[in-house]
Amino acid sequence: MTDEAAVPGRSYWDIVTRAFRRNVVARVALWITTALLALAILTPLLANDRPYAFKGTMPGEYRRAYSQVVRGAWFALLSLPQQLRAEREQFEQGTATLLQLKTRIPIEDLRTIYDPLERLRRRAESRPDIRGRWVSGDVTLREIASELAPAEAAALESATRRIRDGLPALYRDRLRDILTGIETKIGEMADQLDPALRPKAAAVAALFRQATPGDYVFSAGGRTPALDAAKSAFQETLAPDRVTLVPAWRFPIFDALTALDVFFIVAALLAALAFGPLAWAGLRRLRPAGRRLGIQASIAILPAAALALLFLALHHPRFGTVSYKAGLKDGSIVAESAFWPPHRYRYDEVPEDAAERRSPPSRAHPLGTDFMGRDLLARMLWGSRISLSIGFLSTAIAVVLGVGLGALAGFYGGWVDIAISRLIEWMICFPRFFLILAVVAFLPPSIYYVMLVLGLFGWMGIARLQRGEFLRLQNQDYVTAAAALGAREGRIMFRHLLPNSLAPVLVAASFGIASAMLLESGLSFLGFGVQEPATSWGQILFTAHGQKEWWTLVIPGAAIFVAVTCYNLVGDGIRDAVDPRLKV
């Protein structure tokens, strides 16, 4: 072991990784943690209630879109002129209410009449007969005007007039929105049609667009011949019983993914590629190890980020809330072939069939269901994302803070060191769990607060380690050489000192992940962590408290135990690999 260090070309990290790999237990633990991480990242593809892809049609959706246009949008369209007329009359005659005034009035006018209105409101507070109407905004403008001074009443009058004049423009905007909605719906319906029919659908959409001249809103009854023509064209060409829908490939799984999911999934797959086959193929010959790591990381991260951004820009979720399983069963979705994820349940799926509740592990539900009938395997998979991400994120915050402050303290020494050391000593005395409890109990429930607090109060140990390492390494020859060659302080810190001092930080980070996971599950168990319907392993234990079903109790706890053990073993393995004293 000792003469390996003397061989040229063996870096510090080579020695450490070699020693780590010799430790069988730590290696197995590392594989298990990687597998858990992979499962967590790939969960949306592994346990979901919508298929990856299917070739078929969605007649139910088609019919729904059709009736939305023919009924909903149509009636909204027709009622616009009437509403406009009614509102104009209300403002003209002073029967409009205070609430309407507040909704319609432009800001500049509001500023001028705000104070008189406040004064009247306060006066109304003391008169029980009209106070209720003031509070709910039902008092009419005429009543208000009668109580105002002449100048204020004139201001109110001019404001009202401006509102009246601006109403047509507002209604025209609403009209435009409705028409855009109709066009979108027609586009969705056209997606399922024979390509030959699509130009016809486009023509119908164009008819709607052209059927509304600028002064549409003033026409009586809201109907114009052009509009009627558009509607009958729509009903003739696009009615469900008049068209045959053409099966096509659809990919519902994308509706269940977010850009962040895409990033992590692609990055994980590329990383597996870069650290696996590609590394064997040729990358291993690249030295130094730092450059190789950089290349592998770039192969994994950059294309993933690009794809995620592309996804964010281009993906518009449609039919977001369709239940594909129910649709297939009742015929509103017809599929010739479909490819489903391995496990066809989601974490928040509540079945209508009450018999599925509290069912023990079976073929359909490998881990059973909970008291609401939700599948436990899906909940465990989706819950692992939150549990693991809390561990990683809070440790990341702690590492960034700790390494930064510790490096500064160790490198510069002097009063910087004293100040930071005092800060560390001061913060170590804080009762972390109580503070976390206070924070999560008082602030609106969100796991991000938990992560933030865990990170903000967990960096002290890492800072101490980092400071110690910097103090130790400062007097090494290569540092003196770098300084003599004129390297700037920042370069010395980042390029030379930091990579060699990270090993204890890795150990602390590994233990930090384990303890953050334990803390989060403890919090969720008390009811203060992740809130329904989102889930984490601790939250599943929370719902299992006092219930009869053993599987909801044993399995999440066992999962937490396995994950925490593996992270601890990895940390211990790194510590043993790095510490020269523990080898005789």
């Binding site: 005395c429 804080f430 009762p431 972390r432 109580f434 503070l435 008082f442 044993v554 706890g557 601890n568």
Partner: protein, 328 residues
Amino acid sequence: MRTYLLKRLLLIPVTLLGVTFITFLVMKLAPGDPAQALKAQAAGGNMTASEQNVQAQELWKRERHLDKPLLTQYGYWLRDLARLDFGRSFMPPREKVLARIAEALPITIAINLLSFALIYLVALPVGIVCAARQFSWWDRALTIAVFFLYSLPAFWIGELMMKFLCPPFPTTGYQPHEIGELGFAGWLAAWARHLVLPVTCATYAGFAFLSRQMRSSLLEQVRQDFVRTARAKGLPERVVILRHAVRNALIPIITLFGNLLPEMIAGSVIIEYLFSIPGMGQLFFAAILERDYPLIMGIETISAVLTLLGILAADLLYVAVNPAIAYD
């Protein structure tokens, strides 16, 4: 040594200020107005406001300084703290906060002291054995066992125990009032029976940390020259390890209970919630659910003080035991 002690003593009030101020800030940041909550509670959820109620609410707020700026409120609270007046709890019955804490504190302290004693009793021998027989079968097995225990979540084990072990053991914990019927021995037995499960839950996680520290500390000592001398003198290995090496190795270990203390106080929340023990943890939990500000501030302060006192005691012991820094 005097400067060292002075430094440590000065740290206590500063840390207390920091902890209480942060807790205070967090509570004030919370959405929801305690005055409203109290009124709603008093009116049974019926919130029709009348003029008298508005005035009463303003008066109530002014009494508790809730209408003044934040720092002023904090100042008032600190002044009360100096008089050891933590105010009255918001929850009915509106007892004094100090009284409620005084009721619950001894129970928590008893359980924690018991746990500490057990941890030290078990972890030290384990660490010694691991170090003396490094890399042997004993070392590996004990390390794995201790690791295993450290990773088991306490609340999970508690739940499992309650589910499977409860017919023999009682489900609720502490019963301090049964002396009359049972006599002292009977009371002790009942007390022990009630406390077995909670103390087990609170204790086993501490084994790992302490035994690992003992192991590495002893390993360091075993490589020293004086151990080689002792062996060369022909002393039996047992004497070498137990009488000579362990003494030096114990020095850093003694201070470690300063590290263990905050975790135990925190862990007691979960244990007491599970086993319905009326200690500080359960009190804190109930206070948070009810948003009982004075009680929460009181408990946070007291636990911060206890933690700091524990750390101070650890430091003092360290100074007493380690001759090297006596002349600092």
